[in-house]
Every structure is written in structure tokens, then in C-alpha cells.
Amino acid sequence: MPNKLLLIFAIILLFTLTLVIVSSTTDQSNMIPGKNHVMFNLTEPFYVKDLIKWNPQISVVSFSKENKTIGFVNLYNGVGDDFIIENNQEYEIILSKNIYLVLPPGTQYINLEV
């Protein structure tokens, strides 16, 4: 009986892990209205203001750093810190509609959240 339980547990765990990994690393996926969490694979860093210029459907881009949120809002020609988008940093992008992000050539992103 304990072996049977252990087997069921292992199967569920394997299934769930597969699901999580597949769903959280959807490369270059369509981004949905609302909150999206992405990481970029950049050849050259760029300013968030440029990202919004290329993608005017973006409402807000933000990231967390040392228990603070640094953000840039697509309002009044841009409100907030015009920070640099970098590799290995998770960003929250809030969109007003479905888009595929327009990025500089060679730049890729990973949509981390379903």
C-alpha cells in the first residue's frame, strides 16, 4: 500500500513539474492583456522608454530591486525612471491588449507566467 501511494505521488510530481516547466518558459509567446512576467535575452541593452515606443500597447514596465519596485508608466510621455532593460532580470509588463513584443533584432524574451 505505501509503495502504491509513493508511485501515485511520483507520477503526479512528474506531471506537474513538466507542466510548470513547459508553461513558464514559453518562448516568444503571445502576451496577454494585464500582467506578464518576462525575461529578455539581449544582445544590446536598451531603455524601457524605447521598449514602450516600439510597443505602445504597454501600460507599465516594472521590476523589483532590493524590496523596491522600479517602474515606468506609459502616460504623459512617460512617467517614472527610464531604466535599462537587462539580461537576467525579471520584468513585469502590463499590456492593454494582446501583442507579440517588438524588440531589436536578435533580442528574445521568455514569458515566465501563464
Partner: protein, 398 residues
């Protein structure tokens, strides 16, 4: 079996939650703060956001303008998800500019959290501080203005007044004032009848006008307060604890006033001769150093007599004499009488007396003695009486 399965499932969910990468989340509240009506810039002031249902202790702040999160003049930007009780769709949050030391604050505004990427709060206008206008200080005789005439040997009410224009309607909480000699004293000095007066509870008429208050600060100013320019500085505090000062000047006029307590009674004596010395004390009840003017008459001014007598003959003015500095007790012959005393005259003469004014808050020791004798010539009999007129003068004496 079922129980074991669910326990395993819960364990699994906890395990999975550790596998999912840490997710940042933000929901910005953005708003515009207009400069104050008095011209004070909103930039650099601090704005606070809180959820009233959770209490103001759970709050987030931002600096308005370029040095804050927004990086833009007059704008602020606060992530409400950083509240300890993170904001959720439908929450109503409050915002206000709070006091960062200059007492410019604002009224609260509210914003409701939506599902959009951010929310824009209603515009806020930075509050203005109240203005102190029409500060004046005077006695109840307002013409000529800014001149104060003290009363002899008592106090005079001096009123320092101002009108407060409180356009934000914050309300005035407290008003104090200091009235002080602008040359020899200062705002912070302790009280002293010559130099400094305090009123820590001025009258506030909050219904004086629309958003206007009348402030009245009374001082009971003593007769010996220095004759010079005086400053009244009012310190007004509103209900936000903002404090402003306003001041005005006025001149306390010289008060020349003396009191001579006693009648001059040479007593009774027989025959020709010089009377014993009689002492008369003169007290300064003014606020300036004085000399003494003196003249005398028997029955009528300028009648040439010191005393009018019931006999046919009167005592001539030249026979009544004084010394304003030195006593000469005992019997005197006529020669000493002539040399040690000065003739009283029918016309007023100003004599050096140098009697200072009161400088002690508890006692008036501005008192000096004068010494008098009279010569009784032959032919005088019966009773005699006369008048000596004492006057205080700032003129140079002889």
C-alpha cells in the same frame, strides 16, 4: 486512502510553489499635484498613500517631482502593491501631501483600484499657509497712529492686532505675542516692565470674515516702559501646527510725571529768623529722566510773594529757598541760608534734578528729596500760606 492522497497533494502544491520563479508585481497610482496658491512649488513635497480600511500606519510615500519615483515635475507615482496589505481591485486608497517641515499639506483625495495597468488619482492642490496681514500695535487712541501714550502711575492697555487670511480654512489654533523695546530688548528676552511684555494667549476671533481671523493681543504696559520704538511680534499657529510670525512697530511717547507727597509745613515760630529745614520727596511716575521746574506764589501767580499772610505784610518770594541736592539740618544764620539755598522765583526755573525713572519691577525707588527753608522777616504775624509749583521737565537745568 483519500486522506493520504489529499495530504500528498497539499505537499505537492507547496513543493511546486517553491519551483515557480519569484514574480514581481506593481500597480502604480499616479497623480498630479498643483503648486500652492501662494506660489509654493509642489515639487519636493512628500505624498503619502494608504488604505483607510487598513489604517494610515500601513502607507507608502513618494516625493513629488523630479526627485521622486515619477521623475517628472508635479507628478508622483506610488506602487500600491508595496503596501503591507497589498492593494486589490476595488480597494479605495487615500492620498495626501503631508507635512515635511514647511507645513504645506493638502486635503485627502481617493482613488479606486481598477484592473488597468495603473490608476490616476484626482489632482491635488498643495495647501497654502495662512497670511498675517495688517499687523499693528497701538493704544486705544489710534490718532496719531503708532504712538502710545502711557498713563501716570498705572498701566495702559496696548493692543497688538492682526488679521489672518486662512484661505485653506485650516483654522488658527494659537496666537502669542511679544511686545518689546526694539533697541534694548529682543523677542526672546524675559518680561520686564521697562523692556518686554508677553501674551501667551491672545484672543482669536475666528468668525471675523470668510476664512479670516482677527487676533488681539493685549499688554498692560507700565508707566515706566522705555520711551522708544517698540516691536510687537505675533506668533500664529494653525491647526496643522504651521507657525508664522508678523510684527509691527510703535513709539512709546515720553511720559513726564511726578508726585510730591507732602505739603510743605514750616511749622510755627516766633520772631524774625530762618525756619528749620523741611524735606519734600519727589517721585518720578513717568518713563524719562527729569529735571525739576519750580516757581511759587502767595495768592496769585506772579504776585511776587512766597506766602500770603493774615497780617498786613506778606513774605516775599525771595525769602523762600530750596536745595535740590544736599540737606543742611540744624539752625542756620541768614548768611548760611543765603549761601546754601537757592531762591524760589515767581517765574518757572528748570533746575538740574536728574531724577531717573523706575527700573525695578517691584518697587519704585525713583524718589529724590528736596530741602526747603523760609526766612520770616519782621512785621509778619498770624498765619501764612503759599504755593510752590513743581514740574517735571526734560529741559536742561541750571
Amino acid at each position: 486512502m483519500t486522506k493520504t492522497f489529499f495530504i500528498s497533494l497539499i505537499f505537492l502544491i507547496i513543493f511546486i510553489s517553491f519551483l515557480i520563479p519569484g514574480v514581481s508585481a506593481a500597480h502604480y497610482i499616479i497623480g498630479f499635484v498643483n503648486n500652492a496658491n501662494d506660489g509654493t512649488s509642489a515639487n519636493g513635497h512628500s505624498i503619502v498613500l494608504w488604505n483607510p480600511s487598513k489604517g494610515i500606519n500601513d502607507n507608502k510615500t513618494d516625493i513629488i517631482g523630479e526627485t521622486g519615483n515619477s521623475g517628472t515635475d508635479n507628478l508622483y507615482m506610488i506602487d500600491c502593491e508595496l503596501l503591507n496589505n497589498s492593494c486589490k481591485i476595488g480597494d479605495t486608497l487615500n492620498l495626501k501631501v503631508h507635512n515635511n517641515g514647511d507645513y504645506h499639506v493638502s486635503n485627502n483625495v481617493s482613488v479606486t483600484i481598477t484592473g488597468a495597468g495603473y490608476d490616476i488619482a484626482p489632482n491635488i492642490t498643495l495647501g497654502s499657509l495662512f497670511n498675517i496681514t495688517m499687523v499693528s500695535v497701538d493704544d486705544d487712541i489710534t490718532s496719531p497712529p503708532n504712538e502710545i501714550d502711557l498713563f501716570t502711575a498705572t498701566n495702559r492697555t496696548v493692543t497688538c492686532s492682526a488679521i489672518i487670511n486662512d484661505s485653506e480654512g485650516v483654522g488658527i489654533k494659537n496666537a502669542t505675542a511679544r511686545f518689546f523695546d526694539n533697541i534694548s530688548s529682543s523677542f526672546s528676552q524675559g518680561d520686564n516692565g521697562n523692556l518686554h511684555y508677553s501674551n501667551n494667549s491672545c484672543y482669536i476671533n475666528s468668525s471675523y470674515g470668510i476664512n479670516e481671523s482677527l487676533i488681539l493681543c493685549n499688554f498692560q504696559v507700565a508707566y515706566y516702559a522705555n520711551s522708544t520704538y517698540w516691536n510687537c511680534t505675533m506668533s500664529i499657529t494653525d491647526n496643522n501646527n504651521a507657525t508664522k510670525n508678523g510684527s509691527s512697530h510703535s513709539f512709546i511717547n515720553p511720559l513726564l510725571s511726578i508726585q510730591v507727597n507732602d505739603t510743605l509745613d514750616f511749622g510755627s515760630f516766633n520772631g524774625v529768623g530762618v525756619s528749620p529745614e523741611v524735606v519734600l520727596n519727589v517721585t518720578n511716575y513717568g518713563n524719562v529722566k527729569i529735571n525739576l521746574s519750580l516757581y511759587g506764589y502767595g495768592m496769585y501767580i506772579d504776585d511776587g510773594n512766597a506766602m500770603n499772610c493774615s497780617s498786613a505784610k506778606n513774605i516775599s518770594i525771595m525769602y523762600e529757598k530750596y536745595n535740590l541736592t544736599t540737606t543742611n539740618p540744624g539752625n542756620l544764620n541768614l548768611g548760611s541760608f543765603e549761601s546754601k539755598y537757592i531762591n524760589l522765583t515767581s517765574n518757572s526755573v528748570v533746575n538740574n534734578f536728574n531724577l531717573g525713572f523706575r527700573t525695578d519691577n517691584n518697587f519704585n525707588i525713583a524718589i529724590k528729596s528736596t530741602y526747603w527753608r523760609i526766612y520770616l522777616p519782621s512785621g509778619i504775624s498770624g498765619s501764612c500760606s503759599g504755593n510752590i509749583v513743581f514740574g517735571a521737565s526734560q529741559l536742561a537745568g541750571i
